[in-house]
Symmetry: C2
Subunit: 309 residues, 2 copies
Amino acid sequence: MKNKFLLLAFLLVTFTSLFSQQTLQEKLGYSKDAKLLILHADDLGVAHSEDSASIDALQKADVSSGSIMVPCPWFSEIADYAKKHPDADLGIHLTLTSEWKYYKWGPVAAKDKVSSLLNSNGFFYTDLDSLAVRAKPDEVETELRSQIEKAIQAGVHPTHLDSHMGSIFFRKDFFKIYLKLAHEYHLPCLINVNAFKLVYGVDVSDLITDKDVLTNVVYMVFPPGNIETRAAEYEKIFESLTSGLNCILLHAAFNDDEMKAITQDHPDYGAAWRQADYDFFTSDECKKALAANNIHLVTWKEVKDKLMQ
Amino acid sequence: MKNKFLLLAFLLVTFTSLFSQQTLQEKLGYSKDAKLLILHADDLGVAHSEDSASIDALQKADVSSGSIMVPCPWFSEIADYAKKHPDADLGIHLTLTSEWKYYKWGPVAAKDKVSSLLNSNGFFYTDLDSLAVRAKPDEVETELRSQIEKAIQAGVHPTHLDSHMGSIFFRKDFFKIYLKLAHEYHLPCLINVNAFKLVYGVDVSDLITDKDVLTNVVYMVFPPGNIETRAAEYEKIFESLTSGLNCILLHAAFNDDEMKAITQDHPDYGAAWRQADYDFFTSDECKKALAANNIHLVTWKEVKDKLMQ
């Protein structure tokens, strides 16, 4: 009997050890050196133009995931879509800024509970610096929690968390809250230790636990970008991807009156810049380039279901 | 000496008596039976399309006044215009509803201070009935006061108050708050006793004081309306106006992607309906019809400056 227990213990240890040696790709059911990619549409809920282009790209094309800005004027549209499409891979694009000059939004939490996050007009700050200087961490947590709760209440089944404009990666104490919420809600969250260090000068490596899923590469076309060479740029990125979990953050919207109005004085991240993403990621060229580079599209939902339970 | 005082007193009484016999038109500097008209653009701040069409109509055409929806996403745009154009005749379109399906807004006050005005998603109710049944008067006052204060803080010099969707005319206790705020801020507010009785079934006649300015006729093209006959409809109204202070509530916006998106499932009050107002009120036909009917355009600012001091 004792030997049986010892054998079982040995097998368990061996199995656990084998499992822990598995690459993230293998844990997700792919080959050891598979190149996995999440094609992720940011900024859902910001505008009807963004919602309709992104939904189109999610439904008809290869875009695998998206995330929702809960405080924005068109949140109800994308929440309704999420409710009607429970398998859609939609997370929360946690939002602490309101960056357009005239088209504004404020917090989900009561304003008097999160006043350190707001300018004198009751909106989120336009820029990351103001947020980093003034925001109190407990109020950041209150607001982020309110956004997640509001999304769930509206029928969204969030598959992951990430951060609009990377505002959460700008201060280490904000990032701690982000991790805490991800663990509490059993959700994967976008993490790329090197990128955070490089872009925001914040080293979060000591906060990462074995609960957290790290991305290999997170890529985004920074504005203004050359619209004419957008396809070539993404194809080059596809070619450069290596094995592991990679993520491309795209911004799909139409170059229409609504998106032009929102971005009227700020062509960076503007309507044409977003239309170019929509055009590439709904093209046959994109499909062919993904296949030619043996890239497997995956979702945050797969990560959540296979790695977070 | 006593006689001099008696004479002065007599003259004062006579003057006051003569003044009180003056019609509102005369008090404003017009002839006794002048037909005065405020051409008033509603819903500023709701969308860029509405802002740009209404500003165009205010600057280039005969539209004399407008009012601003402070809780809406594009409030900052019209507030900035108001700040840069301190003589523009802009009031506060006090807002307690968020009527579009997917394009939503909530209160200016902290949500926990005005929870009876909000649905479970933290937005104003879509309809007047929900508001009338659930709203607590003290929370209505808190929210309306917050809207006025936010507008002033953002640089708006409000010339008057009125009510989006007439939500304030729907309950007599709401109307009392409206009057109280108008008196407190020394602003005229839109009142038409007969219309409120007819449309909302609320008799406010016993609340009116000599501080309040009553309109003779308040007219609005109710949807769907026939766009083809819009000009003829307004011309008929011009012809029917009688002496006194009249008001036409119009809704100028462009029939563009943004306004179509907002009104997508609700063509009543939609983009084409608003474009038809813009087209008529910026036309030569409108100018000619106003002149042909001896109509004098006036502003709420004139009413405020000449009657409220």
